[in-house]
């Protein structure tokens, strides 16, 4: 656990930081006037939800690169419970918080006690 620090790793970490800044700022580095084409501007309103789904769905239905073989999986029930909570409480200010809490209340017992 008490590994030694080496310069190579520190440099890689600094490089990853530069990459965080560059990727997140790439399109606003230059201040030359420039505008996205209209179709792209319209298309971008669908990008946020697409990005989230692309991150979430594989985390729910895949294990080590393979589609899950069994419905006995704590993640599925947790996601269903969280979704149900959100849809019934979406007018409330902290519906996202409820989704997390309800989901984990379903996930942890199934995962830790039943091993799902």
């Amino acid at each position: 656990m008490n590994a030694e620090t080496d310069l190579w790793t520190v440099l890689v970490i600094l490089g990853l930081t530069v990459i965080t800044v560059l990727t997140r700022s790439l399109f606003f580095l230059s201040s030359r006037p420039w505008q996205l084409p209209g179709w792209m501007q319209r298309g971008l309103q669908y990008a946020p939800i697409a990005a989230l789904a692309a991150v979430i769905v594989p985390e729910l239905v895949m294990t080590q690169g393979e589609f899950i073989h069994s419905w006995q999986d704590a993640r599925l029930f947790a996601a269903l419970a969280g979704t149900a909570w959100f849809l019934t409480h979406k007018t409330q200010r902290q519906a996202v918080l409820g989704t997390i809490v309800v989901g984990m209340l379903v996930y942890l017992p199934l995962h830790l006690l039943l091993g799902w």
């Binding site: 790793t9 939800i49 997390i100």
Partner: protein, 247 residues
């Protein structure tokens, strides 16, 4: 952008904080597990703290850790980090008109602090970029509150994870709370039928293209979902025009 009292006092600052607060427990659990994972993969305490404090990108950290542990060449680690972060390039194109009035230094700082969650919550609250100084100021205040709280909770729980690494087994699956946080935010975005389509197409494409290296499946999924939504939107518009022009 965070150092201006005028932003802290703006009512939108509070709204940004409250939105981030709703997702913060999930983000915190995710940060905690990332801290644990860094130490357990063999990074030294200093390296883990450094990475947690300055890289500030959960998924690219998680992708880089096993590569560093395996002694992969630096360019492979950096190329992986770049590709895992490609979705942010798409986000930066979207954010450009919201931020170009700021000096470069502040744009870079904003970009650095803009995680998935902050980007999504921000564009949900402000579908259009501001046209007046007052509107732009309100949007800045929201970003300062939202990104500031996300940053603080990510950093503090990463450090906690590094400290508690010996006590929290990864097998507990606490990091799953992060996925639930993203799920909650996704649901709050699903405000139109086409957005549901976008989520469905992206989810299916991300699974189908999962075998691609460097998590490029996420980028493929965004492209597929946006293309499909635009086509359906165009088809819908064409149908409406026909109905209107019918005698």
């Amino acid at each position: 952008m965070f150092f201006k009292p005028s932003l802290f006092r703006h009512p939108e600052f509070r709204v940004g904080v409250m939105d981030a607060l709703g997702a913060a427990p999930g983000l915190a659990a995710w940060a905690l597990m990332t801290g644990v994972a860094m130490v357990n993969s063999g990074l030294s305490t200093f390296e883990s703290l450094l990475m947690g404090l300055i890289v500030f990108a959960g998924s690219s950290q998680l992708a880089a850790i096993p590569l560093i542990a395996a002694g992969a060449p630096a360019w492979v680690v950096l190329a992986t980090g770049w590709c895992v972060n490609l979705r942010f390039v798409v986000f930066s194109a979207h954010m450009r008109p919201y931020l170009m009035h700021l000096p470069l230094r502040e744009r870079l700082l904003t970009g650095y602090l803009l995680t998935d969650l902050s980007y999504v919550q921000f564009t949900r609250r402000y579908p259009q970029h501001g046209n007046s100084p007052e509107q732009l100021q309100a949007q800045q205040a929201y970003l300062a509150g939202n990104c500031g709280l996300s940053w603080a909770s990510w950093e503090s729980f990463t450090v906690l994870g590094i400290v508690l690494a010996g006590l929290i087994p990864a097998s507990w699956g606490l990091g799953f709370a992060g996925i639930l946080a993203l799920l909650g935010v996704l649901l709050s975005l699903a405000s139109s039928p086409l957005r549901w389509v976008s989520a469905g197409v992206a989810g299916a494409a991300a699974v189908a293209a999962f075998a691609l290296p460097f998590k490029l499946n996420i980028l493929v999924a965004i492209a597929a979902a946006v293309a499909m939504s635009l086509m359906l939107e165009a088809a819908h518009r064409a149908k409406n025009t026909r109905v209107e022009s019918a005698p």
